[in-house]
Symmetry: C2
Subunit: 189 residues, 2 copies
DNA sequence: ACCTGAACACCGTTCAAGT
DNA sequence: ACCTGAACACCGTTCAAGT
Protein backbone atom coordinates (compact mmCIF):
# COMPACT_ATOMS: atom_id res chain seq x y z
CA UNK A 1 0.00 0.00 0.00
CA UNK A 2 2.87 2.40 0.76
CA UNK A 3 4.75 4.07 -2.10
CA UNK A 4 8.51 4.55 -1.82
CA UNK A 5 8.61 5.47 1.85
CA UNK A 6 11.07 8.32 1.35
CA UNK A 7 10.69 11.44 -0.72
CA UNK A 8 7.61 13.02 -2.17
CA UNK A 9 4.71 11.59 -4.08
CA UNK A 10 4.11 11.27 -7.81
CA UNK A 11 0.76 11.24 -9.57
CA UNK A 12 1.26 7.52 -10.08
CA UNK A 13 1.59 6.96 -6.34
CA UNK A 14 -1.81 8.54 -5.91
CA UNK A 15 -3.30 6.47 -8.71
CA UNK A 16 -1.88 3.22 -7.33
CA UNK A 17 -3.17 4.05 -3.90
CA UNK A 18 -6.55 4.83 -5.43
CA UNK A 19 -6.71 1.56 -7.34
CA UNK A 20 -5.79 -0.33 -4.18
CA UNK A 21 -8.54 1.45 -2.31
CA UNK A 22 -11.01 0.78 -5.12
CA UNK A 23 -10.13 -2.91 -5.07
CA UNK A 24 -10.28 -3.21 -1.30
CA UNK A 25 -13.25 -1.08 -0.36
CA UNK A 26 -15.09 -0.03 -3.52
CA UNK A 27 -15.47 3.25 -5.37
CA UNK A 28 -17.09 5.05 -2.43
CA UNK A 29 -13.85 4.77 -0.48
CA UNK A 30 -11.84 6.54 -3.15
CA UNK A 31 -11.97 9.94 -1.45
CA UNK A 32 -9.30 12.54 -1.12
CA UNK A 33 -9.23 12.59 2.67
CA UNK A 34 -9.09 8.81 2.79
CA UNK A 35 -6.17 8.72 0.36
CA UNK A 36 -4.40 11.46 2.31
CA UNK A 37 -4.51 9.30 5.43
CA UNK A 38 -3.21 6.35 3.43
CA UNK A 39 -0.37 8.39 1.93
CA UNK A 40 0.39 10.56 4.94
CA UNK A 41 -0.14 13.98 3.35
CA UNK A 42 -2.75 16.72 3.57
CA UNK A 43 -5.51 17.44 1.09
CA UNK A 44 -3.87 20.40 -0.57
CA UNK A 45 -1.11 18.12 -1.79
CA UNK A 46 -3.56 16.23 -3.95
CA UNK A 47 -4.32 19.32 -6.00
CA UNK A 48 -0.74 19.82 -6.97
CA UNK A 49 -0.89 16.47 -8.81
CA UNK A 50 -4.46 16.52 -10.10
CA UNK A 51 -7.01 18.95 -11.46
CA UNK A 52 -9.76 17.30 -9.43
CA UNK A 53 -11.16 13.95 -8.29
CA UNK A 54 -12.24 13.05 -11.82
CA UNK A 55 -8.67 13.46 -13.02
CA UNK A 56 -7.53 10.98 -10.38
CA UNK A 57 -10.26 8.56 -11.42
CA UNK A 58 -9.10 8.84 -15.01
CA UNK A 59 -5.54 8.02 -13.97
CA UNK A 60 -6.81 5.04 -11.98
CA UNK A 61 -8.76 3.95 -15.06
CA UNK A 62 -5.59 4.23 -17.14
CA UNK A 63 -3.75 2.00 -14.70
CA UNK A 64 -6.53 -0.57 -14.79
CA UNK A 65 -6.63 -0.42 -18.57
CA UNK A 66 -2.92 -1.16 -18.80
CA UNK A 67 -3.18 -4.05 -16.37
CA UNK A 68 -6.18 -5.45 -18.21
CA UNK A 69 -4.37 -5.34 -21.54
CA UNK A 70 -1.44 -7.18 -19.98
CA UNK A 71 -3.85 -9.81 -18.66
CA UNK A 72 -5.34 -10.19 -22.15
CA UNK A 73 -1.88 -10.73 -23.59
CA UNK A 74 -1.30 -13.53 -21.11
CA UNK A 75 -4.69 -14.97 -21.98
CA UNK A 76 -3.75 -15.00 -25.66
CA UNK A 77 -1.01 -17.49 -24.92
CA UNK A 78 -3.65 -20.12 -24.27
CA UNK A 79 -3.90 -20.31 -28.06
CA UNK A 80 -1.23 -22.98 -27.92
CA UNK A 81 -3.49 -25.38 -26.06
CA UNK A 82 -5.94 -27.61 -27.93
CA UNK A 83 -9.39 -25.94 -28.09
CA UNK A 84 -11.24 -28.10 -25.54
CA UNK A 85 -8.52 -27.63 -22.99
CA UNK A 86 -8.43 -23.93 -23.75
CA UNK A 87 -12.15 -23.61 -23.00
CA UNK A 88 -11.71 -25.60 -19.80
CA UNK A 89 -8.95 -23.29 -18.58
CA UNK A 90 -10.98 -20.20 -19.37
CA UNK A 91 -14.02 -21.59 -17.56
CA UNK A 92 -11.94 -22.50 -14.56
CA UNK A 93 -10.45 -19.03 -14.45
CA UNK A 94 -13.92 -17.52 -14.60
CA UNK A 95 -15.22 -19.47 -11.62
CA UNK A 96 -11.97 -19.01 -9.72
CA UNK A 97 -11.19 -15.36 -10.08
CA UNK A 98 -11.53 -13.52 -6.81
CA UNK A 99 -11.12 -9.93 -7.96
CA UNK A 100 -14.41 -9.50 -9.81
CA UNK A 101 -15.11 -6.61 -7.47
CA UNK A 102 -12.79 -4.33 -9.45
CA UNK A 103 -14.18 -5.53 -12.75
CA UNK A 104 -17.70 -4.79 -11.57
CA UNK A 105 -16.73 -1.32 -10.42
CA UNK A 106 -15.02 -0.67 -13.73
CA UNK A 107 -17.91 -1.99 -15.81
CA UNK A 108 -20.14 0.33 -13.84
CA UNK A 109 -17.78 3.15 -14.42
CA UNK A 110 -17.69 2.38 -18.13
CA UNK A 111 -21.15 3.88 -18.38
CA UNK A 112 -19.82 7.36 -17.68
CA UNK A 113 -16.20 7.12 -18.87
CA UNK A 114 -15.55 6.48 -22.54
CA UNK A 115 -11.97 5.39 -22.03
CA UNK A 116 -12.99 2.72 -19.52
CA UNK A 117 -15.88 1.69 -21.77
CA UNK A 118 -13.42 1.26 -24.61
CA UNK A 119 -11.17 -1.13 -22.71
CA UNK A 120 -14.11 -3.09 -21.32
CA UNK A 121 -15.39 -3.50 -24.88
CA UNK A 122 -11.92 -4.40 -26.13
CA UNK A 123 -11.63 -6.99 -23.38
CA UNK A 124 -15.03 -8.53 -24.07
CA UNK A 125 -14.41 -8.68 -27.81
CA UNK A 126 -11.04 -10.28 -27.29
CA UNK A 127 -12.47 -13.01 -25.09
CA UNK A 128 -15.29 -13.49 -27.59
CA UNK A 129 -12.83 -13.94 -30.43
CA UNK A 130 -10.85 -16.49 -28.43
CA UNK A 131 -13.93 -18.56 -27.64
CA UNK A 132 -15.13 -18.25 -31.24
CA UNK A 133 -11.74 -19.43 -32.44
CA UNK A 134 -11.87 -22.46 -30.19
CA UNK A 135 -15.29 -23.44 -31.54
CA UNK A 136 -14.09 -22.98 -35.12
CA UNK A 137 -11.14 -25.25 -34.50
CA UNK A 138 -13.59 -27.82 -33.19
CA UNK A 139 -15.18 -27.87 -36.63
CA UNK A 140 -18.25 -25.69 -36.14
CA UNK A 141 -19.31 -23.54 -39.11
CA UNK A 142 -18.50 -19.82 -38.66
CA UNK A 143 -22.02 -18.53 -37.94
CA UNK A 144 -22.63 -21.29 -35.41
CA UNK A 145 -19.27 -20.72 -33.71
CA UNK A 146 -20.08 -17.05 -33.41
CA UNK A 147 -23.50 -17.56 -31.83
CA UNK A 148 -22.30 -20.15 -29.34
CA UNK A 149 -19.33 -18.02 -28.37
CA UNK A 150 -21.64 -15.05 -27.87
CA UNK A 151 -23.98 -16.90 -25.54
CA UNK A 152 -21.10 -18.36 -23.59
CA UNK A 153 -19.30 -15.05 -23.15
CA UNK A 154 -22.49 -13.30 -22.10
CA UNK A 155 -23.10 -16.10 -19.62
CA UNK A 156 -19.59 -15.58 -18.29
CA UNK A 157 -20.22 -11.88 -17.85
CA UNK A 158 -23.54 -12.60 -16.15
CA UNK A 159 -21.93 -15.12 -13.86
CA UNK A 160 -19.04 -12.89 -12.89
CA UNK A 161 -20.91 -9.62 -12.64
CA UNK A 162 -24.49 -10.51 -11.83
CA UNK A 163 -23.79 -11.20 -8.19
CA UNK A 164 -26.97 -13.17 -8.46
CA UNK A 165 -28.41 -15.59 -5.96
CA UNK A 166 -28.26 -18.41 -8.48
CA UNK A 167 -26.35 -21.51 -7.38
CA UNK A 168 -22.81 -21.96 -8.67
CA UNK A 169 -22.67 -24.70 -11.30
CA UNK A 170 -21.23 -28.04 -10.19
CA UNK A 171 -18.36 -29.74 -12.02
CA UNK A 172 -20.84 -32.13 -13.59
CA UNK A 173 -22.95 -29.23 -14.81
CA UNK A 174 -19.94 -27.52 -16.34
CA UNK A 175 -19.13 -30.73 -18.18
CA UNK A 176 -22.67 -30.95 -19.55
CA UNK A 177 -22.45 -27.36 -20.63
CA UNK A 178 -19.22 -27.90 -22.53
CA UNK A 179 -20.81 -30.95 -24.19
CA UNK A 180 -23.78 -28.86 -25.29
CA UNK A 181 -21.63 -26.14 -26.71
CA UNK A 182 -19.17 -28.34 -28.52
CA UNK A 183 -21.80 -30.64 -30.00
CA UNK A 184 -22.06 -30.71 -33.81
CA UNK A 185 -24.88 -28.69 -35.36
CA UNK A 186 -28.17 -30.54 -34.96
CA UNK A 187 -30.39 -31.04 -38.02
CA UNK A 188 -33.22 -28.52 -38.20
CA UNK A 189 -36.65 -29.97 -37.56
CA UNK B 1 -42.97 13.21 -10.68
CA UNK B 2 -45.19 15.38 -8.45
CA UNK B 3 -47.06 13.78 -5.55
CA UNK B 4 -50.60 14.93 -4.76
CA UNK B 5 -50.08 18.63 -5.36
CA UNK B 6 -52.01 19.69 -2.25
CA UNK B 7 -51.28 18.85 1.36
CA UNK B 8 -48.17 17.52 2.98
CA UNK B 9 -45.89 14.70 2.06
CA UNK B 10 -45.85 11.07 3.17
CA UNK B 11 -42.81 8.83 3.41
CA UNK B 12 -44.08 7.09 0.29
CA UNK B 13 -44.02 10.36 -1.65
CA UNK B 14 -40.36 10.67 -0.82
CA UNK B 15 -39.67 7.07 -1.78
CA UNK B 16 -41.50 7.41 -5.10
CA UNK B 17 -39.62 10.58 -5.86
CA UNK B 18 -36.40 8.81 -4.97
CA UNK B 19 -37.13 5.84 -7.21
CA UNK B 20 -37.98 8.19 -10.07
CA UNK B 21 -34.71 10.02 -9.54
CA UNK B 22 -32.80 6.75 -9.36
CA UNK B 23 -34.36 5.60 -12.62
CA UNK B 24 -33.78 8.89 -14.39
CA UNK B 25 -30.36 9.94 -13.20
CA UNK B 26 -28.78 7.10 -11.24
CA UNK B 27 -28.04 6.55 -7.57
CA UNK B 28 -25.73 9.56 -7.29
CA UNK B 29 -28.68 11.87 -7.92
CA UNK B 30 -30.63 10.48 -5.00
CA UNK B 31 -29.63 13.25 -2.60
CA UNK B 32 -31.69 15.02 0.00
CA UNK B 33 -31.25 18.50 -1.45
CA UNK B 34 -32.10 17.25 -4.92
CA UNK B 35 -35.27 15.59 -3.67
CA UNK B 36 -36.20 18.70 -1.71
CA UNK B 37 -36.10 20.72 -4.93
CA UNK B 38 -38.20 18.08 -6.67
CA UNK B 39 -40.77 18.02 -3.87
CA UNK B 40 -40.69 21.70 -2.98
CA UNK B 41 -39.73 21.42 0.68
CA UNK B 42 -36.63 22.10 2.77
CA UNK B 43 -34.12 19.58 4.05
CA UNK B 44 -35.38 19.48 7.61
CA UNK B 45 -38.67 18.06 6.37
CA UNK B 46 -36.92 14.93 5.18
CA UNK B 47 -35.87 14.04 8.71
CA UNK B 48 -39.38 14.05 9.99
CA UNK B 49 -40.10 11.12 7.65
CA UNK B 50 -36.80 9.25 7.77
CA UNK B 51 -34.06 8.42 10.19
CA UNK B 52 -31.40 9.13 7.55
CA UNK B 53 -30.55 8.64 3.87
CA UNK B 54 -30.12 4.90 4.30
CA UNK B 55 -33.68 4.66 5.60
CA UNK B 56 -34.91 6.37 2.45
CA UNK B 57 -32.86 4.01 0.31
CA UNK B 58 -34.39 1.07 2.14
CA UNK B 59 -37.86 2.41 1.44
CA UNK B 60 -36.95 2.88 -2.22
CA UNK B 61 -35.68 -0.70 -2.25
CA UNK B 62 -38.99 -1.85 -0.76
CA UNK B 63 -40.88 -0.09 -3.53
CA UNK B 64 -38.70 -1.67 -6.19
CA UNK B 65 -39.07 -5.07 -4.55
CA UNK B 66 -42.86 -4.81 -4.66
CA UNK B 67 -42.84 -3.72 -8.28
CA UNK B 68 -40.44 -6.49 -9.22
CA UNK B 69 -42.63 -9.11 -7.55
CA UNK B 70 -45.62 -7.78 -9.46
CA UNK B 71 -43.63 -8.02 -12.70
CA UNK B 72 -42.74 -11.64 -11.86
CA UNK B 73 -46.40 -12.45 -11.31
CA UNK B 74 -47.19 -11.08 -14.76
CA UNK B 75 -44.30 -13.07 -16.17
CA UNK B 76 -45.71 -16.24 -14.62
CA UNK B 77 -48.78 -15.91 -16.80
CA UNK B 78 -46.65 -16.80 -19.81
CA UNK B 79 -46.97 -20.37 -18.51
CA UNK B 80 -50.07 -20.68 -20.65
CA UNK B 81 -48.11 -20.29 -23.86
CA UNK B 82 -46.44 -23.29 -25.48
CA UNK B 83 -42.77 -23.52 -24.35
CA UNK B 84 -41.07 -22.36 -27.55
CA UNK B 85 -43.27 -19.32 -27.76
CA UNK B 86 -42.72 -18.65 -24.08
CA UNK B 87 -38.94 -18.60 -24.58
CA UNK B 88 -39.31 -16.33 -27.59
CA UNK B 89 -41.38 -13.83 -25.61
CA UNK B 90 -38.88 -13.83 -22.75
CA UNK B 91 -35.97 -13.31 -25.14
CA UNK B 92 -37.76 -10.48 -26.85
CA UNK B 93 -38.49 -8.81 -23.54
CA UNK B 94 -34.83 -9.11 -22.57
CA UNK B 95 -33.55 -7.39 -25.69
CA UNK B 96 -36.32 -4.82 -25.62
CA UNK B 97 -36.44 -3.64 -22.06
CA UNK B 98 -35.24 -0.11 -21.72
CA UNK B 99 -35.13 0.23 -17.94
CA UNK B 100 -32.11 -1.95 -17.23
CA UNK B 101 -30.55 1.08 -15.59
CA UNK B 102 -32.64 0.57 -12.45
CA UNK B 103 -31.96 -3.14 -12.43
CA UNK B 104 -28.24 -2.50 -12.68
CA UNK B 105 -28.34 0.00 -9.85
CA UNK B 106 -30.33 -2.41 -7.72
CA UNK B 107 -28.05 -5.38 -8.47
CA UNK B 108 -25.17 -3.18 -7.43
CA UNK B 109 -26.98 -2.19 -4.33
CA UNK B 110 -27.73 -5.84 -3.56
CA UNK B 111 -24.10 -6.20 -2.55
CA UNK B 112 -24.61 -4.05 0.53
CA UNK B 113 -28.35 -4.49 1.23
CA UNK B 114 -29.59 -7.94 2.19
CA UNK B 115 -33.22 -7.14 1.43
CA UNK B 116 -32.42 -6.05 -2.10
CA UNK B 117 -30.11 -9.04 -2.53
CA UNK B 118 -32.97 -11.29 -1.48
CA UNK B 119 -35.36 -9.99 -4.10
CA UNK B 120 -32.70 -10.03 -6.83
CA UNK B 121 -32.01 -13.68 -5.97
CA UNK B 122 -35.73 -14.44 -5.86
CA UNK B 123 -36.16 -12.83 -9.24
CA UNK B 124 -33.25 -14.70 -10.82
CA UNK B 125 -34.40 -18.02 -9.39
CA UNK B 126 -37.92 -17.44 -10.62
CA UNK B 127 -36.78 -16.73 -14.15
CA UNK B 128 -34.47 -19.74 -13.99
CA UNK B 129 -37.33 -21.99 -12.94
CA UNK B 130 -39.49 -20.70 -15.78
CA UNK B 131 -36.81 -21.36 -18.39
CA UNK B 132 -36.06 -24.74 -16.86
CA UNK B 133 -39.77 -25.58 -17.00
CA UNK B 134 -39.95 -24.66 -20.66
CA UNK B 135 -37.00 -26.93 -21.48
CA UNK B 136 -38.56 -29.77 -19.50
CA UNK B 137 -41.80 -29.44 -21.42
CA UNK B 138 -39.77 -29.69 -24.60
CA UNK B 139 -38.70 -33.14 -23.49
CA UNK B 140 -35.23 -32.53 -22.12
CA UNK B 141 -34.18 -34.66 -19.13
CA UNK B 142 -34.14 -32.75 -15.81
CA UNK B 143 -30.37 -32.35 -15.41
CA UNK B 144 -29.98 -31.16 -19.00
CA UNK B 145 -32.90 -28.73 -18.69
CA UNK B 146 -31.33 -27.29 -15.57
CA UNK B 147 -27.91 -26.74 -17.12
CA UNK B 148 -29.25 -25.18 -20.29
CA UNK B 149 -31.57 -22.91 -18.33
CA UNK B 150 -28.66 -21.85 -16.13
CA UNK B 151 -26.45 -20.88 -19.05
CA UNK B 152 -29.28 -19.05 -20.75
CA UNK B 153 -30.30 -17.09 -17.67
CA UNK B 154 -26.70 -16.15 -16.91
CA UNK B 155 -26.34 -15.02 -20.51
CA UNK B 156 -29.45 -12.91 -20.09
CA UNK B 157 -28.04 -11.30 -16.98
CA UNK B 158 -24.73 -10.70 -18.73
CA UNK B 159 -26.51 -9.20 -21.72
CA UNK B 160 -28.72 -6.91 -19.67
CA UNK B 161 -26.21 -5.88 -17.05
CA UNK B 162 -22.80 -6.21 -18.62
CA UNK B 163 -23.12 -3.01 -20.60
CA UNK B 164 -20.48 -4.63 -22.73
CA UNK B 165 -19.28 -3.49 -26.11
CA UNK B 166 -20.30 -6.77 -27.68
CA UNK B 167 -22.65 -6.51 -30.67
CA UNK B 168 -26.34 -7.13 -30.10
CA UNK B 169 -27.38 -10.49 -31.54
CA UNK B 170 -29.31 -10.39 -34.82
CA UNK B 171 -32.68 -12.09 -35.25
CA UNK B 172 -30.97 -14.88 -37.16
CA UNK B 173 -28.51 -15.38 -34.33
CA UNK B 174 -31.29 -15.53 -31.77
CA UNK B 175 -32.97 -18.21 -33.86
CA UNK B 176 -29.77 -20.25 -34.02
CA UNK B 177 -29.39 -19.88 -30.29
CA UNK B 178 -32.89 -21.16 -29.60
CA UNK B 179 -32.20 -24.08 -31.93
CA UNK B 180 -29.03 -24.93 -30.01
CA UNK B 181 -30.76 -24.79 -26.67
CA UNK B 182 -33.84 -26.74 -27.64
CA UNK B 183 -31.95 -29.46 -29.51
CA UNK B 184 -32.23 -33.00 -28.12
CA UNK B 185 -29.30 -34.25 -26.05
CA UNK B 186 -26.44 -35.24 -28.34
CA UNK B 187 -24.82 -38.66 -27.86
CA UNK B 188 -21.59 -38.46 -25.86
CA UNK B 189 -18.44 -39.16 -27.86
C1' DA C 1 8.99 20.81 -7.26
C1' DC C 2 6.00 19.37 -3.69
C1' DC C 3 3.47 20.24 0.44
C1' DT C 4 0.82 22.79 4.46
C1' DG C 5 -3.11 24.96 6.33
C1' DA C 6 -6.74 28.14 6.19
C1' DA C 7 -10.83 29.25 3.70
C1' DC C 8 -15.24 28.31 1.23
C1' DA C 9 -19.19 25.73 -0.88
C1' DC C 10 -21.97 21.66 -0.73
C1' DC C 11 -24.37 18.00 1.57
C1' DG C 12 -25.97 14.93 5.46
C1' DT C 13 -27.75 15.49 10.00
C1' DT C 14 -29.77 17.70 14.32
C1' DC C 15 -32.97 20.40 16.61
C1' DA C 16 -35.66 24.20 18.41
C1' DA C 17 -39.30 26.69 16.75
C1' DG C 18 -43.33 27.43 13.80
C1' DT C 19 -48.35 26.15 11.79
C1' DA D 1 -48.72 16.02 12.12
C1' DC D 2 -45.59 18.14 9.09
C1' DC D 3 -42.42 21.75 7.98
C1' DT D 4 -38.85 25.81 8.39
C1' DG D 5 -34.35 27.53 9.11
C1' DA D 6 -30.21 27.88 11.60
C1' DA D 7 -26.35 25.23 13.08
C1' DC D 8 -22.55 21.80 12.63
C1' DA D 9 -19.50 18.17 10.61
C1' DC D 10 -17.57 16.24 6.50
C1' DC D 11 -15.64 16.52 1.95
C1' DG D 12 -14.18 18.59 -2.60
C1' DT D 13 -11.75 22.58 -4.11
C1' DT D 14 -8.82 26.94 -4.10
C1' DC D 15 -4.91 29.41 -2.96
C1' DA D 16 -1.33 31.95 -0.57
C1' DA D 17 2.47 30.67 1.90
C1' DG D 18 6.22 27.48 3.22
C1' DT D 19 10.56 24.28 2.15
Amino acid sequence: MQPQTKGRLSAEDWARGGLALLTAEGITSVRINRLCEELGVTRGSFYWHFEDLDALREKIADLWCAETRAALARLAELDRLPPRERLAVMTLRLTDESSWAVERALRDWARTDDKVAGVVAESDLFVLSMVEGAFSELGLPPAEARVRAGVLVYAGIGFAHGQSGLPKPTADEVERMVALFTAPVSPTD
